[in-house]
């Protein structure tokens, strides 16, 4: 019984690091953890090498069964099937498969469809090598009060925080955050502040009511959301949209700071050009997050200043913004020193040194393919995985529509190619979000 020793240390012990073993209650020394760096930090973590990558894959006309599917790749280094597809589970039909996220106990993977707002809950703990479909939620729009396009699935204790992208009234960008219990029932809906109803938040001039990603920093009791565009735009042919001046006016230009505990929006920041993925720094004293703007190709820093005020500012360009390289996914190193940035149009991965968060500097770049979207890295940063698909109707056409997952080793100076899975040749579809799995999560 060690209760007294814990109590003597008081609240200081509650100070936790993301490195803490969350799931394993053993007092044994912690093995080096190697999980991907962009998960909710309050979730069970993989100790050791990730074993599987779950790729939420869009069905593609003319490829295989043309349906969305969860594809499992084997990335066990000593496996005979390393770098190969070992399972594929089709959900039937195309739903604009996009992002996915584990529950806090990491037993289930929630994967959303941005088109019809279907949510698929996969059991990834019974057999991590072969996920099964546990539950399908088809009434998200109805239950949420009209939110369309479940995007980010972010684990909070016992529940999922889901960012919507659109609404059922006009398929525009006005939308909300939606909370679901892990069991699959709707809990509550929180609409983004917009100029007509700021919900008590400051920054009315900037507000647009749009949403994209959601990430929390409980240590500061804050939550950040970013902003993209509504159903009409994200579902539209990309070439058509770029030529539609009306459509191009309908992109998000805000990051919103929320009180995490009360779910009340506090401040809307002007961040023009569609800020997408948000990543909080990990360090226990690092009160800042990064986002990148897709259209204006900038890295933005959201930070708490010396006076305790939260601020947003652009801190770096990504590539040549005048060519619209379209930065999409980002991945922050667990030491807060590096940030991977994928740009879709030129298919390039860029590494930024962010040790001074106010002045990121590009230190490396490599063309990965004709197009590039998601990037996931292991906790130790030594393995980096890339995938290609952005949105069904935004992906490149013809020969440039490469669809793959590529695995690389990163030695600090160079990406070294390990494997490629060609998702078209394998009859799978468009490779999108990657999440890591491992048996070690569910056994000693």
């Amino acid at each position: 019984m060690q209760l007294s020793s814990v109590l003597k240390t008081g609240r200081g012990l509650i100070a936790l690091t993301a490195l803490g073993s969350l799931f394993l209650a053993a007092a044994a020394p912690l093995p080096a953890v190697a999980d991907e760096t962009c998960q909710s930090p309050y979730m069970a973590k993989i100790t050791g090498n990730e074993e599987y990558i779950y790729v939420w894959t869009l069905g593609m006309k003319g490829v295989g069964d043309e349906s969305d599917k969860l594809v499992t790749l084997d990335v066990r280094p000593d496996s005979a099937t390393y770098g190969q597809v070992i399972a594929s589970l089709s959900v039937g039909g195309r739903h604009e498969a996009h992002h996915s996220g584990f529950t806090d106990d990491r037993r289930y993977l929630w994967a959303g469809g941005l088109d019809d707002s279907a949510i698929y809950v996969f059991d990834v703990h019974t057999d991590p090598a072969k996920p099964t479909l546990h539950k399908t939620i088809t009434n998200f729009v109805d239950a949420s009060g009209g939110v369309v396009g479940p995007h980010t699935f972010y684990a909070l204790p016992g529940r999922m925080m889901i960012s919507g992208l659109s609404n059922d009234k006009d398929h525009g960008g006005k939308t909300a955050l939606v909370e679901y219990a892990n069991g699959g029932d709707h809990i509550s809906t929180h609409w983004l502040p917009d100029p007509g109803d700021m919900r008590g938040a400051g920054g009315q001039q900037a507000a647009d009511g749009y949403n994209y990603d959601v990430r929390v920093l409980p240590r500061k009791n804050v939550m950040l959301t970013s902003s993209f565009t509504g159903w009409s735009n994200y579902m539209m042919d990309f070439g058509k949209m770029l030529q539609d001046a009306e459509a191009m006016k309908r992109f998000g230009k805000t990051v919103t700071l929320w009180d995490l505990h009360t779910r009340q929006p506090k401040q809307v920041f002007s961040v023009p050009g569609a800020p997408l993925e948000i990543r909080w720094a990990w360090g226990p004293n690092h009160n800042y997050a990064f986002t990148t703007t897709a259209l204006t190709s900038k890295i933005w820093l959201i930070h708490e200043d010396a006076q305790g005020q939260w601020q947003a500012k652009a801190v770096a360009d990504i590539g040549d913004p005048s060519k619209i390289p379209l930065p999409v996914d980002i991945s922050i190193g667990s030491d807060d020193k590096t940030l991977w940035v994928d740009t879709f149009m030129d298919g390039t991965a860029r590494l930024f040194d962010i040790s001074d968060p106010h002045a990121p500097k590009q230190v490396y770049e490599k063309k990965i393919g004709a197009q590039l979207n998601m990037v996931s890295q292991s906790w130790d940063g030594k393995r980096v995985y890339f995938s290609t698909s952005l949105l069904g109707n935004w992906d490149k056409k013809g020969a440039d529509n490469e669809q793959f997952v590529k695995g690389y080793d990163w030695d600090g100076t160079e990406l070294k190619h390990r494997f490629t899975v060609d998702f078209i040749k394998e009859g799978l579809g468009r490779a999108h979000l990657m999440r890591f799995g491992s048996h070690s999560l569910y056994s000693s």
Binding site: G93, E96, D170, H171, E246, K249, N393, D400
Partner: protein
């Protein structure tokens, strides 16, 4: 008088509501009685009799049912598109946010969504005038692959039969279960009530209220019917006006835009942030874009070469609310439309001879704009509230 009739209708309705058979759920509300009253006595400036087919006279039950159907996203192949997703009440019952809509799975619709306001008076429907009945029009979008994409009419009927919230509603409105005929009739019944006039122009021109419009509007109307020759196609009657001849014309815009799309290699101006536009290499745009689809206009219906690039004359009521303009949404503002016609349209081998350069002065253009803005009906907020009295239909199981 309308108020009295409305009151009577409400009294009658509330008097019978209590006696309604509990097995026949009613979704009829005050909004339906007000909508029916609009058909009985349309807003001032519209023709006094609202055309209705003899076999589909409006009733409150049909109107309520039609509205519910109009807002039901389940009526598309994958539960995403209702009629109202492209005919958005708050956006002039059309769509401001896109030049041309996107349908199921984001498929490209070639043509701008026309407003549903005052559609009751339209003798022909669609930009290529391919239908002449609101009752049958609905099957176009319901079945179009790029719109609501239902694989068959039967699928739509089955969807409605399966939905518990429709139980008894068709029976109450038509005395029979849902079928291909009463489905179109119900939606048409509500659409027909979306009447909006009594605009400042109406009160001045037809009502004799001198101060209902500004001097600029009056001058603009003179340009409209005089130097501008707009009334050659956008008819104005002596007692009312619909601002359309219900015919198709080639203004040159179809010919011009198709040709430009094929040969223009200039960079595409892309607005990447409010007020910040960058020229994007056309090859980069084409790399992420599907091949363009041609739009041949009325010829697609008739195969008559004379109908190449001919499109229907739209009515102009509430035109200030229905941007962007033209069959392809290619003109974003009324100013751009006025400039287009001032030029005499675009050169085209088949261009209607009525289109000639107008040589309008800046003052005349401003007056014309003021006139067009005087055509907005006085009950738009009411019609939006009417529309939103129906819940959006979504998948519930």
């Amino acid at each position: 008088m309308p108020a009295l009739r409305l009151l009577l209708a409400l009294l009658l309705w509330s008097g019978t509501a209590g006696a309604a058979d509990v097995a026949t759920p009613s979704i009829v509300t005050e909004w339906d009685h007000r909508a029916l009253a609009r058909i009985d006595q349309p807003p001032f400036g519209l023709p006094f009799v609202v055309p209705q087919p003899g076999d589909n006279p409006a009733t409150v039950e049909k109107i309520a049912l039609g509205r519910k159907l109009f807002f039901d996203r389940r009526l598309s192949h994958n539960g995403t598109m209702s009629c109202a997703m492209c005919h958005v009440p708050e956006q002039g019952f059309t769509q401001h946010e896109l030049a041309t809509p996107v349908g199921v799975e984001g498929r490209t619709v070639r043509r701008n969504a026309p407003t549903v306001l005052n559609v009751a008076y339209q003798r022909v429907l669609f930009h290529d005038a391919r239908d002449d009945s609101l009752e049958t029009q609905i099957f176009g979008p319901l079945l179009a692959h790029a719109e609501m994409a239902n694989p068959s009419v039967g699928t739509v009927l089955a969807t409605i039969r399966r939905a518990p919230d429709y139980a008894g509603l068709f029976e109450a409105a038509f005395g029979e279960p849902v079928n291909v005929r009463n489905l179109g009739q119900a939606i048409a019944a509500w659409e027909r009530t979306l009447l909006s006039a009594n605009a400042p122009f109406d009160r001045w021109r037809f009502g004799g209220e001198r101060d209902a419009v500004s001097a600029a509007v009056k001058r603009g109307f003179n340009v409209f019917r005089g130097k501008g020759a707009c009334t050659a196609c956008h008819f104005v009657g002596g007692d009312d006006a619909l601002f359309t001849d219900h015919e198709v014309h080639d203004t040159g815009i179809g010919f011009h835009n198709e040709r430009e799309r094929a040969r223009n290699r200039n960079p595409v101006p892309v607005e990447i942030a409010p007020g910040v536009t960058v020229p994007l290499d056309r090859a980069a745009v084409e790399a992420v874009g599907e091949a363009p689809q041609k739009d041949l206009g009325r010829l697609e219906v008739t195969d008559d070469p004379d109908d190449l690039y001919r499109f229907k004359t739209p009515g102009l009521r509430n035109v200030a609310l229905t941007a962007p303009y033209m069959h392809d949404g290619s003109l974003r503002t009324l100013e751009a439309v006025i400039d287009f016609y001032d030029r005499g349209g675009f050169p085209s081998p088949n261009r209607d001879p009525v289109l000639q350069p107008l040589h309008l002065t800046d003052g005349e253009k401003a007056d014309l704009l003021a006139f067009l803005r005087s055509l907005t009906g006085d009950n738009i907020a009411d019609l939006i509230a009417d529309a939103r009295s129906a819940p959006v239909g979504n998948v519930t199981d």
